[in-house]
Symmetry: C2
Subunit: 255 residues, 2 copies
């Protein structure tokens, strides 16, 4: 082991993006924001981007005016004071409903994410009665952003597309990495031994989720900052994807 | 709103602590480590400390040699190749067992945390057959550390005592804030409106968990760094505690 002091990490918010519209070049908007902040992207930087702006750029949205709610959506929406068209979209985006009670709908999305409302969101959606969906393939979204940033800047960055998810047992939302490119989402220490030589057998760290959480701290209290760059993080030298963060159903004790 | 650029956050690992022993002055060890790194603690810094060193300094440990396992502990340990004395300690630390299957024991601790093995840990425990327990009262631990740091440095820091917890549905561990002092663990945006004036109704962010996750990124791949200082985080001007992060059972859909 080297005796060099461990590096300091820095988290740089990327502010000042305009309202993102379908077809926008999100990589260009993010690189412009970094340039305005005096930040030249460097190899190894990890760019964390909010799912919502990725979805907006990709046009992953649906106008509620064109949605005809099913009877199930109408009944549940009526019972809990929801918009039945929004509930219909949530049901369509779901592979399975885990809980549907007390006005809360926890779903497993088509991708395999377990979250409230299947990730369908009406706030800050860019228009009245527009629902923003999760990206169709968040790993592909992350990979395309990474490619576009490399073309613009010449450097290889890690990219994480992140969203805020609730958790059982604990209050409040934290960030989850949905799509990952250019970095390993899991740090697997299972081959390692602790300082006393005892195997550290259940130690796999979800570093991509931790990176997404770290980036969220830079968003500030007004939450108008959709991305941040983390510099100084040194993870495993392996690329991976966000699907690695999904626990297989057969290994999940709570599904 | 000000037009000042949003601040950059920095995460400073605190390395080089000796093996922590019962009765050690952990605040002194952490302040010494910061000094060696050239870091003068400043008001508003958030110090995140691994639960394990807090427990070690507090003597929250038990020698397995003195533990007589119950029949339930012996049966389950035998079935899954565990140490029956360790299983016995886990059962004693638990208020309730949520899952006990496939060799995995998910418990609600006396404090109300839901985690594997009720937080009882044999790795890096500082001795053969020593189990480290969670601190008796992590909020008190955080508060005492905060007081001791103030006495040493004259500055008010936030303090988080953190541990790595698994989650349902997702692979890998992330950090959870067990004890909190000198900062608000939740950022409540429910009174806020989004940029289109629509209420952001389910938006409460578990910032203390996100801070703990951010600090974990500074631990490096060898995991020998038990604490980090986060600088530049600006949260709500309110003190809180780690108990706020525990979802009441009646509001929990997965218990």
């Amino acid at each position: 082991m080297s005796n060099a002091p461990p590096p300091v990490l820095t988290i740089h918010p990327l502010a000042g993006l305009p309202e993102v519209l379908p077809g926008d070049d999100l990589a260009a908007l993010l690189c412009d924001s970094a340039a305005r902040a005096g930040l030249a992207l460097a190899a190894g930087d990890v760019l964390v981007v909010a799912q919502k702006v990725v979805s907006k750029a990709e046009g992953a949205r649906i106008a509620l005016a064109g949605v005809t709610p099913s009877q199930r959506a109408r009944e549940w929406a009526g019972q809990w004071g929801k918009d039945p068209r929004q509930v219909e979209v949530v049901l369509r985006e779901s592979k399975r409903i885990l809980r549907m009670e007390r006005g809360i709908l926890i779903a497993e999305t088509r991708h395999g994410f377990v979250c409230a409302n299947a990730g369908v969101d009406l706030s800050n959606s860019g228009g009245e009665d527009i629902a923003i969906l999760l990206p169709e393939d968040p790993d592909r979204s992350a990979g395309l952003l990474r490619d576009a940033i490399r073309r613009r800047t010449g450097v290889d960055t890690g990219v994480i597309v992140a969203d805020s998810f609730g958790r059982p047992w604990r209050q409040g939302l934290t960030q989850a990495a949905l799509g990952v490119a250019g970095l390993a989402p899991l740090l697997d220490l299972r081959g390692e031994r602790d300082t006393e030589g005892r195997p550290m057998h259940v130690t796999v760290i979800a570093v991509a989720d931790e990176l997404a959480c770290a980036a969220d701290l830079a968003c500030g209290k007004t939450r108008r900052i959709p991305a941040a760059v983390i510099r100084g993080y040194s993870g495993p030298a392996r690329d991976g994807n966000g699907r690695e963060l999904l626990r297989p159903e057969k290994e999940d004790l709570f599904r």
